[in-house]
């Protein structure tokens, strides 16, 4: 070992290359994009709800990145169109997630817009789907003898309802649901939006070309 300098320079150069191509260049590309037209900044309640989403760690089981038709049948599942970079413009930190233990939530506000459903489901997922493995979040709710004016009472089937009194949602639960209801990504994606469409699109395009060539012969 007597050539420390060239070794160190090479190592740094490799690191710099990787940083340039994996961090700086994409950062510039995405930074120039700005928010997708049609995407609104979070309202105050939605922003609070997002904080609840982050602190509850929903990300560990739910992704927020529907894939394109070429990669997965996400659109058919009702999970929405493939997302583009601009869709996350107001997300810091983003909640892309990698696990799909539960369904993708990017477009949940279009698919399950009901506040009532969301509250019941957060209080006790098993009240709706007996097989659900999602944890219940009873501590986002309060057991009261009687609902006060302005309280949102959670609708529950007899098997899960308390024997007396009612279950009402705490502010955190209401905010979280407001955030989920606002997750609507059905607006048309910008034509120059960045996204990974995989190789199947190329295959489809090539197929079209060969079909056209065959038809013209």
């Amino acid at each position: 070992m007597n050539r420390y300098l060239p070794l160190a320079i090479t190592a740094l150069a490799i690191l710099a290359m990787a940083t340039l191509f994996l961090v700086i260049a994409p950062g510039m590309q995405i930074g120039a994009q700005g928010p997708s037209p049609g995407l609104n900044p979070y309202t105050e309640a939605e922003a609070r709800g997002r904080d609840v989403y982050v602190s509850m760690g929903c990300l560990y089981c739910h992704s927020q990145q529907p894939r394109s038709i070429a990669q997965a049948p996400d659109a058919e599942r009702g999970w929405g169109r493939a997302s583009v970079a601009g869709d996350y413009a107001y997300d810091n930190p983003h909640q892309l997630g990698t696990m799909r233990t539960g369904p993708d939530l990017m477009d949940i506000g279009d698919r399950l817009p009901s506040q009532g459903w969301q509250l019941t489901h957060l209080y006790q997922p098993r009240a709706i789907s007996s097989w659900s493995i999602m944890p219940a979040y009873p501590y986002l709710f309060e057991h009261k003898d009687k609902a006060d004016p302005g309280d949102v009472v959670v609708k529950l089937p007899p098997a899960y309802a308390p024997k007396t009194g009612v279950i009402v949602a705490k502010q955190d639960a209401l905010d979280l649901v407001t955030y989920l209801q606002g997750m609507k990504r059905q607006y048309a994606p910008p034509a120059d939006g960045l996204r990974d469409d995989g190789y199947a699109l190329i295959a489809a395009e090539q197929q079209k070309q060969t079909d056209a060539a065959k038809a013209s012969n």
Partner: protein, 431 residues
């Protein structure tokens, strides 16, 4: 000391010796591999950038569709009008607007068109029409869907101008901005109530039959509105998922205008577990038989604009082919043979599928193919769904989403308490 001693011993290796290697040339194959890797890298870079270009094109097209919907170009183009007519109107009124005796009135030589011109055609296309109507002395009593929510002002102006001047010998066309003015006034109104209401629009229209008065709202109207908008202590409101106007969204289906008997059967099937959906099973279990019938009648009678847009990147041409002609090479009959012209449904068994949410349709077809939805009479849809490929399912779903919505059912097709009790029994016999 030790080392000195050992150094002196010639049999032992020299401890201070540094191993050393002459610089040797890097073997040629290594260069080849490096060059090949670099070329491959460049090639992949070009390939993948091609991938985003393809997607850009697809998205640009989506954008264009969105724009043409709102674009305002005047001077209607007669060739475009003819093409739009055969895409949108010919399934019912015939290729040359000749009509079908007793079912669909003619447009060629129709006194309605002759007297009302492009203006009246626009009004009818925008709002749709249902109920008793006399055309050229023949009486009709059908339902025509409202195209206002699926055709742009420009498209309607081209169709109306073509019907007035191409199919008939009128001279006056209508411009997109005039159509826009009509849309502002009547875009949201219910369909024309037969010839009686039309007579107020068109001067000198020959005598028209009396309009049917819409069924009086039952005493339960308030209870139904409560269920729809607020729900009960245990059940969420229908509108919170199915939309204010029953138009649906994504995997939540459009309910407006589906046959009442069909809706009753589906709700009973969710209740009994014959059709699976956790959310709807929960809802249906919380409803009484009476409530189910009232809700079914409420949604069946609803006329509301389309809430669907093609969103699955399906091939609309292929979708139109499957819907109108079917594809015998894979054994699929035309969807419209059962689901009615233009997919508006045939009460009581065949639900309307026009303007249904595309994600919902594709999802249901996939569920029939996989066996998860198996409550259909005679398994008709299962066989069809299995024959369709993944891409076909998306294509037909997207095409259906581009159609004008199913109009509200006639009072005659509503379900009464007694008939539905027996209908429920029948459907339990199916199982």
């Amino acid at each position: 000391m030790m080392s000195d001693k050992m150094k002196k011993d010639p049999r032992l290796p020299d401890e201070t010796f540094e191993p050393f290697e002459e610089t040797r040339r890097i073997p040629l194959p290594v260069y080849w591999i490096a060059i090949a890797l670099a070329i491959w890298g460049v090639f992949m870079l070009v390939e993948t950038s091609h991938s985003t270009q393809v997607a850009d094109k697809a998205r640009a097209q989506l954008d264009k569709q969105e724009q043409t919907k709102t674009a305002q170009v005047s001077a209607p183009d007669p060739a475009a009008g003819k093409a739009l007519f055969s895409d949108n109107c010919a399934t019912c009124h015939g290729d040359a607007g000749e009509g079908v005796a007793g079912a669909f009135p003619p447009l060629h030589g129709s006194d309605v068109v002759k007297l009302g011109g492009a203006q009246a055609v626009t009004e009818i296309v925008m709002r749709g029409i249902g109920g008793p109507l006399n055309v050229n002395g023949e009486s009709y009593d059908g339902e025509m869907p409202a195209f206002g929510s699926v055709l742009s002002d420009k498209e309607i102006s081209e169709i109306a101008s073509y019907v007035a001047t191409g199919l008939n010998d009128g001279t006056k066309t209508i411009s997109a901005s005039e159509v826009a003015d009509i849309r502002k006034v009547s875009g949201d109104m219910d369909p024309w109530n037969g010839g009686a209401e039309l007579a107020g629009l068109i001067n000198g229209l020959p005598a028209q039959p009396d309009a049917k008065t819409p069924a009086a709202k039952g005493p339960d109207a308030k209870l139904v509105a409560q269920l729809v908008n607020e729900g009960t202590d245990t059940v969420w409101s229908c509108a919170s998922c199915h939309g204010e106007k029953g138009e649906g969204l994504e995997t939540v289906p459009r309910l407006a205008g589906l046959p009442a008997a069909y809706l009753v059967k589906q709700l009973h099937d969710f209740q009994k577990g014959a059709r699976f959906n956790d959310s709807m099973a929960y809802v249906a279990k919380g409803l009484s038989d009476r409530e189910i019938i009232d809700l079914a009648n409420y949604y069946a009678g609803m006329s509301s604009p389309s809430g669907a847009t093609p969103s699955l990147q399906g091939d609309l041409k292929r979708g139109a082919q499957l819907a109108k002609e079917g594809d015998w090479s894979i054994g699929v009959p035309a969807c419209f043979t059962c689901h009615g012209p233009s997919g508006i449904g045939v009460a009581p068994e065949f639900p309307g599928i026009a303007a249904q949410q595309p994600s919902y349709v594709a999802h249901q077809l996939a569920m029939w193919a996989g066996g998860a939805r198996h409550n259909s009479p005679l398994g008709l849809m299962a066989g069809i769904s299995k024959a369709l490929s993944d891409a076909d399912r998306r294509s037909v779903a997207d095409y259906l989403a581009s159609l004008p919505p199913v109009p509200g059912s006639k009072p005659a097709d509503m379900v009464a308490m007694t008939t539905s009790a027996s209908a429920a029994k029948e459907s339990s016999n199916d199982q």
